[in-house]
């Protein structure tokens, strides 16, 4: 018997769920929508400018996966610390809507969140709880675990968050880190964004099972599989769990199943290093996390089409103006090259 749901048949996915906005405040619902659209449009801007050659650094886009970062971001409080990976624009923007800072960074400009020294793959915003992202697969998992150790030693009521992908679960460091977090009782939230792909390989070509949360079981860490495109489910679960982990100081593992619309890196869509995904993609587009929320909000009379249009226009204006400003921003001082090596 196969351990996989039929990966080609989206209807066979058993983890899909219906949105339920009933217990979430209007204010939060609108914030969710705003943030998801902001991230989508910012990444589309980046995508266009990768395509036209203005952005040179490798950009891994999370279009289609926005709900996870936004749900987690909205569940974080002051003092919580999140670490990302190569696909982290959404994690960053969910905590701070500063598209100017992100645009400057991908353009290698001085006003970037890493002063133009990092590019798309090394972004940081400690003030708002984003403690850094790096493109070495799995590398921030033990670092986030160590942030959990910090919180634990200081006896703070906070959490650390490690975002990683299904591919990172193939790295040994995940298993060492889960064991450590479990045996030391660290308040670390392991969030696996399982988008079924690691670069060009689908998960059934790399692992014997669809669900990466099975690894949590081995380390006696509680886990939950969620519909990664259902922001209300993600938010309710994360909000509650983050509160309880801040007190319990016991790690948890959240697996959010989702799908990235773009190829592994860059602007192309259905075709990723020779992998044709057009059929899957069109089905996943119907499960667009933004669309699902919009439909629900309209159905429940919490949002009108006009209000949506207005929000989108506002966002587009902000993005265009931040982009233009970023294009005109200064490049870093050449002395940074040697000045930032040591303290």
């Amino acid at each position: 018997m196969s351990n996989f749901e039929n990966l080609n048949d989206i209807n066979s996915f058993t983890h899909f769920s219906e949105l339920d906005i009933s217990t979430i405040s209007n204010e939060t619902l609108i914030k969710m929508l705003y943030k998801m659209i902001l991230i989508r449009k910012a990444e589309e801007k980046i995508s266009d400018n990768v395509e036209n050659g203005v952005i040179k650094c490798p950009c891994h886009l999370a279009i289609g996966q926005e709900a996870i970062a936004v749900a987690a971001g909205l569940s974080m409080i002051d003092g919580d610390k999140a670490f990302g990976a190569h696909r982290s624009h959404a994690h960053f923007l969910a905590l701070n809507e500063n598209t100017y800072s992100l645009f400057c960074e991908v353009l290698g400009k001085e006003d970037g969140c890493s002063k133009g020294m990092g590019g798309s793959m090394h972004i940081i915003d400690q003030k708002n709880g984003f403690y850094g992202s790096v493109p070495i697969v799995g590398a921030t998992i033990p670092i986030a675990t160590g942030a959990g150790l910090s919180i634990s030693l200081k006896k703070e009521e906070n959490i650390s968050i490690s975002y990683f992908g299904d591919g990172a679960c193939e790295e040994g460091v995940l298993h060492e880190s889960l064991n450590l977090a479990s045996v030391m009782n660290l308040p670390t939230i392991f969030i696996c964004e399982n988008n079924l792909f690691s670069s060009h390989l689908r998960i059934d070509q790399r692992q014997p099972d669809l669900y990466t949360s099975r690894f949590a079981l081995a380390h006696k860490i509680e886990s939950k599989v969620l519909d990664g495109n259902n922001i209300t489910e993600l938010y309710k679960f994360m909000k509650n769990q983050f509160i309880s982990v801040r007190k319990s100081h016991k790690p948890i593992f959240i697996e959010a199943l989702t799908y990235r619309w773009k190829g592994h890196v860059g602007f192309r869509e259905d075709e990723d290093v020779g992998v044709k995904r057009s059929q899957d993609l069109s089905k996943w587009r119907d499960r667009d996390p933004i669309l699902l929320l919009v439909n629900e909000l309209i159905k429940e009379n919490k949002l009108s089409k006009e209000e949506l249009k207005k929000m989108e226009n506002e966002i587009l204006e902000k993005i265009d103006s931040d982009w233009d400003k970023a294009l005109n921003a200064k490049f870093p001082d050449k002395s940074n090259l040697n000045n930032f090596v040591y303290s």
């Binding site: 610390k81 670490f83 970037g112 969140c113 890493s114 002063k115 133009g116 020294m117 990092g118 090394h122 940081i124 400690q126 403690y131 850094g132 790096v134 070495i136 590398a139 998992i141 033990p142 670092i143 986030a144 675990t145 160590g146 942030a147 959990g148 150790l149 910090s150 919180i151 030693l153 200081k154 650390s160 040994g172 460091v173 060492e176 880190s177 064991n179 450590l180 045996v183 870093p332 940074n336 000045n339 930032f340 090596v341 040591y342 303290s343």
Partner: protein, 326 residues
């Protein structure tokens, strides 16, 4: 009456000082609750300061090192112990690709001031996988500092300053030095940035540079070298990256001769680095003879005692090299 201090005791004093005076310090690593791994250098620290600040761990070098780095990014000045350099290699990504680059790649907005204590533990027929030191490897990496004390006072003071520094530091102590004693100068708080190579004894005829255990070996050869009619100037590098060359350059300008002794392999090593940097800087005419180096044989460490004798640096090899130079 002069007070003496043993190298291993000096390391213990450093830990005691840090645990007593710095809440932002903790130490983590394999074997910290057992004297078997770290000798006397950390004896009973867990009992005195508690097992939450002196933390023993699962056999997970990579995650434990990463967690140490994570703690350093989020407000601590922690130290992770690797009872052998060989074990630390499982954590290379975290040390070389994460910690060393953290400040630079985030534009000085963050840093990873963790200390990695790598114990050099070799000889005794332990063989190829329990004998490496690899200081040159680590010294190759911009963003990492590499500290290698010879003197017991340094073992204490440089351990403290490594931990308190705002940069990631590899601190390498050598078990062969643990029973060595020095005159105890008393604990001195140093800023790692100000620490430079030190002249251990002055001489006019030959500059001999060593680091860690090789400094002791050079000193042990001093009498015999003097008998050859030359006075060596012995320099202890103390920090292998970044190296401050001023003192070495001045010395070689005076002596015209340079011998570097490094307890690691020769290829792309610290000895090569020192010789190259000195010859690049100085006018060729000041050299009275070709610079030389004494290093390990270019092979994995053997087990058999007979082969070990040839493999490791001996007094004889240092004397032999000295004779060739003068």
């Amino acid at each position: 009456m002069s007070k003496q201090i043993k190298y291993s005791k000096a390391i213990h004093e450093a830990f005691t000082y840090l645990l007593e005076n710095h809440d932002e310090f903790f130490v983590i690593g394999q074997g910290l609750w057992s004297p078997w791994y770290v000798g006397e250098t950390m004896k009973d620290l867990d009992k005195k300061f508690g097992k939450s600040r002196v933390i023993d761990t699962p056999v997970s070098e990579l995650a434990v090192t990463g967690a140490t780095i994570g703690a350093s990014i989020t407000g601590f000045k922690p130290l992770v112990v690797h009872p052998r350099v060989d074990f630390m290699l499982l954590a290379i990504d975290q040390i070389v690709t994460q910690a060393a680059k953290w400040r630079h790649m985030f534009g000085n907005n963050s840093s990873a001031p963790a200390t990695f204590r790598a114990i050099i533990n070799r000889g005794g027929e332990q063989g190829a996988q329990h004998s490496q030191s690899l200081q040159s490897w680590f010294a190759h990496i911009p963003g990492l500092k590499v500290v290698m004390p010879y003197d017991a006072n340094d073992a204490r003071d440089l351990l403290i300053s490594s931990v308190l520094a705002d940069d990631p530091v590899i601190f390498m102590d050598d078990r062969w030095l643990y029973d060595e004693v020095s005159f105890d100068k008393g604990l001195k708080l140093l800023d790692l940035k100000d620490v430079k190579p030190e002249i251990i004894s002055t001489g006019d005829d030959l500059t001999i540079v060593g680091s860690g255990y090789t400094v002791k070996q050079i000193i042990d050869c001093k009498k015999e070298i003097s008998k050859l009619g030359v006075e060596p100037e012995i320099i202890d590098l103390r920090i292998l990256n970044p190296i401050d060359y001023n003192i070495i350059l001045k010395s070689v300008e005076k002596t015209g001769r340079l011998l570097v002794v490094d307890g690691d392999w020769s290829s792309c090593g610290i000895a090569a680095e020192v010789i190259c940097s000195v010859t690049e800087e100085l006018n060729p005419s000041i050299f009275k003879s070709k610079p030389m180096r004494v290093t390990l044989e270019n092979a994995p460490a053997p087990t058999s005692k007979v082969l070990e004798e040839d493999y490791y640096i001996s007094k004889e090899r240092i004397i032999e090299a000295t004779k060739k130079i003068i």
